[in-house]
Amino acid sequence: MGFNPFKAVKKFVDKAIDVVTDTVKTVFSIAMSPFTGGFDIPDFDVDTGADIDNTTTVDFTPSNKPIPVCYGEKVERAVKNIFVDTAGDKNQYLYMCGVIGLGMTQDSANGSRLFDLIVDDSVVDIIDASGSGIISDYIAGEKVVRSGPSLMNLYGGGFPLFGGKGGHQPPRYKVKHGRFKDRIEFQLFDGSDDQPTSDLLSESDKWTYNHQLRGVQYIALKFTWTNDEILDDDGENLTNPFGSLPRVVVVAPGKNVPKLVERKQSVTDGYIHDTDTSRYNYGYILVSSPSDWSVAFSSGSYSHTASRRDGYGVSGNPVEILLDYMLNDRYGAGLALSKIDQASFVNAAVACERYRNETSNSIFSTNYLNQVYVPTVYYQDRPDFRIQRVLGKDGDREQETLGVPNNPYFRQFVVDTGTTHLQNINRFLSSMGGIMPFVNGKFKLILENAGTPDNSFDIPSDADLKSSSTFTFTDDNIIGGIQFQSGSLENSFNQLKLNYTDLDNRSQNNSVVWPPKTDQNYAVFKRQDNGIDLIGNVTHSGIMNAAHAAHFAKVLVLKSRNKQNIVFNTTESATNLTPGDLIRVNSNLIGIDHMFRINNLTMDQYGEIEINAYRHYPENYDFDAGTLFDNGQSYVEFINNNLKRPNTINAVPNTIKAPSNFTAIRVIDENPASGFTSSFANFEIRWIDESVNAGLNSYELQYKNPLTDFYHSAGTVKLTSIKFSSILSSFYGGTIEFRVRTMSPNGSSSAFTTTTANTQAPLGNRIVDGVLPINANYWADFATLSSGAGVGTANTDGTITAGESTEEL
């Protein structure tokens, strides 16, 4: 060091210390701020219900608004429409670019899959969408060109594939079934840094080579507006399903994150890390220690472009998601890998990857009632949740179910890049009960659980924890005294409502309550609280189903109760401790011998350490489903109310059918207009519309006079029965041909249904309940056509009055 302006003058030491002391107060105040650490109920919502709702709300005006970052395996979110254009000789094509999120995604060896495409709240049938193109080279040196449905059947498990990595044009898919058949074409871009410009969007003059959207996951869409007949698989005519600018929602994997641990494959193998580079996912490598699990750490730096073979992948593990956000220097905190404590992160990641009852091979208990979970022996090691919504297919086709990992830490996030890093990091941490102190130059991560860092299902006893405690405080190493603070009523809850994102139900805002009033715990808590209702309300948008939400609520309630705190000072000998550590305090002074978890730790200049810790009850962190409720009634109610629900209602196909049971009954006008006689033919005409959306349709009625081949349009009505009147007397005795067709709201129409009727009938007689023709052709010789019949007018009462024109049809 060169010149130094700091000279030694040891004066005013007291003043310097005074300044420091003032700062201490500030620091302590900040430390007591309501930011969450571990399982805690913040004074403000880290998440709000609006966060959940906004995720699936379509934004047509995204200008300069934050693009979300999506984390998770099956994330549902509305796309942000950043480009819209029309083309075609009749403006029949609508091109749309829908941004899904930032960052590259790859959830399987051949790329991420689109699990659901929802347009205007209707599921698009994408399972057998035809496509051709290049599967991107996620597998080194491989560039596979495939076309037709086999492209997805072979490589995407039946779902359309994202692509773009390596500069390869992703496949173009065309919807071939369901209500959007032949009317939607799309391409899926994986958000890689080198993805090419969409050749689908390039059909618009405005979309040029420089519109690559590198690093952005998006869907390119081409909608076709046509009233031409398109027949579905049953031969029914599909009407134009569009009304205005389509609202598009997708269910797709989130972005890649650095993997710390791969999902468990079997009981005996333990956890493995997937470094597989083969297409068929063979060749897993078994490792024996956590330090070997992370390819990302061994590479030494974070990568925005890494694929599965590089140790990155899509994840529902909140630890891996947190790690990605902390390392990402585009939208995240941008920390160096050297700032992350690998061992503690891996331990926490393993804990988040474990399944219930894995050692006993039992399945999640709720499985016995509702089959939400896969109960087969094969899946015992991977008891996925089976989502009960229709995925990838519209309502009239076979239901597809899909699994997500069934462990209590499974999370998904749609992160707002417009909020601060601290807010987002706290959101991740709070969703898993994570504690992340910065010690010795690194961020360490501890899950607040019963006491085993890498296994939240392990519930060590209080005695076990005491015997294995790394640090025991007694009256000998406690300086001064101990301040003991009881839990307070204002921070205790006897019931908690937890709001979560219901993946099973179109990712809408939903909630669970724990304990339910039928649960014995509720009665016990109320009695302990002198009958006072202490009800909390917390939102965690990263929780995706009711069972996981109930577990989270249970831990929050139990932890809030009897939350005893202690504060004491000790010597430098405790320097090795960090926040989150479990300690034993055995003090004869106040007669306690309990386990505590360190909340804050303050070290002063002279080495003295102040420890602030809260009582640790290992049984509060029981994540096993068998203990979620204390009786069968609560259990059954929970299943019925939250898990065993009917499928989400899906829009039925927009087929349109020709009217059936078409009849024309001649009646005598009982109140003929002045100058007319009852000899004029009047008809009651009826038909039935068996179209699915019959209530939305209208109907055009036409008739043809006895002597010509011209059809005259009588008009259009909304009803399916009308009174047709004012047929001129010259028709009398002739055969009239009626026909009617169904018209959809978008202008599509069915084929005509035809019937004939005869105007002949004895004067003064009324034909009741008789279907014409009666005595057909009897009066035909007398029939002559005169002018006057023409386009009719639809009246509000269902009648049509014949008009003037004679349109040829």
Binding site: M1, F12, K15, G37, S63, K65, G418, T420, M436, F438
Partner: protein, 200 residues
């Protein structure tokens, strides 16, 4: 989980007598100098200790008797919060006061380590452990006729987390922070009016 302090340091801290001192470093993060004296004398890092003698660790000499006395208590919390630490340099030489006032302290890395030393001030690297690493958030200089004090306030590792990014917005400007020439968001600000779709 523990701090992973070396066993020698733990033994020293548990001993009945122990001497623990601070090793303070203030370093420019961007390669620029903290301040420049005159035209060519530059200072890119400051190293202090409150030990009676200079201490050398990892090839760097931490200077004693330059006015560093103590840091404020350091709080580590289970909460992800932006903790603050301050320390005061006493007896600052005011002959170059303007240089200090214009110094490039803000944003510089501030690091505090503890060292457990023997009676002869000897120690090994195993007896050094870090207790704070952050950034200088602000500083103030207080002077009177007898001396001057420089107080440096530091934000903890979470201080940079109070920010958000420029990248990640639906605009060309934001996107081109990372991807030059990419115009993918060019049309995101176009108002959708009079869209003629299906008007045959």
């Amino acid at each position: 989980m523990t701090r992973d302090i070396g066993s020698s340091a733990q033994d020293g801290l548990s001993a009945s007598t122990r001497r623990v001192f601070d090793l303070i470093s203030i370093k420019s993060q961007d390669g620029n100098n903290l301040f420049v004296i005159g035209t060519d004398s530059t200072v890119s890092e400051l190293l202090f200790t409150n030990c009676e003698v200079n201490l050398t660790h990892a090839g760097e000499t931490f200077n004693a008797n330059l006015g560093y006395i103590a840091h404020s208590p350091i709080t580590e919390s289970s909460n992800a919060i932006n903790e603050k630490v301050s320390f005061t340099i006493d007896g600052v030489d005011l002959s170059n006061a303007e240089t200090i006032l214009n110094a490039n302290f803000i944003g510089a890395n501030a690091n505090i380590k503890k060292v457990v030393v023997g009676a002869d001030y000897s120690f090994t690297s195993d007896e050094v452990y870090e207790v704070f690493d952050g950034f200088i958030n602000s500083f103030n200089l207080t002077a009177d006729k007898e001396t001057a004090n420089l107080r440096l306030e530091c934000g903890g590792p979470f201080s940079a987390f109070e920010k958000n990014s420029i990248y990640g917005y639906a605009s060309v400007l934001s996107h081109q922070v990372v991807f030059n020439n990419d115009k993918g968001f060019e049309f995101s600000n176009k108002t959708l009016t009079d869209l003629q779709w299906g008007k045959q």
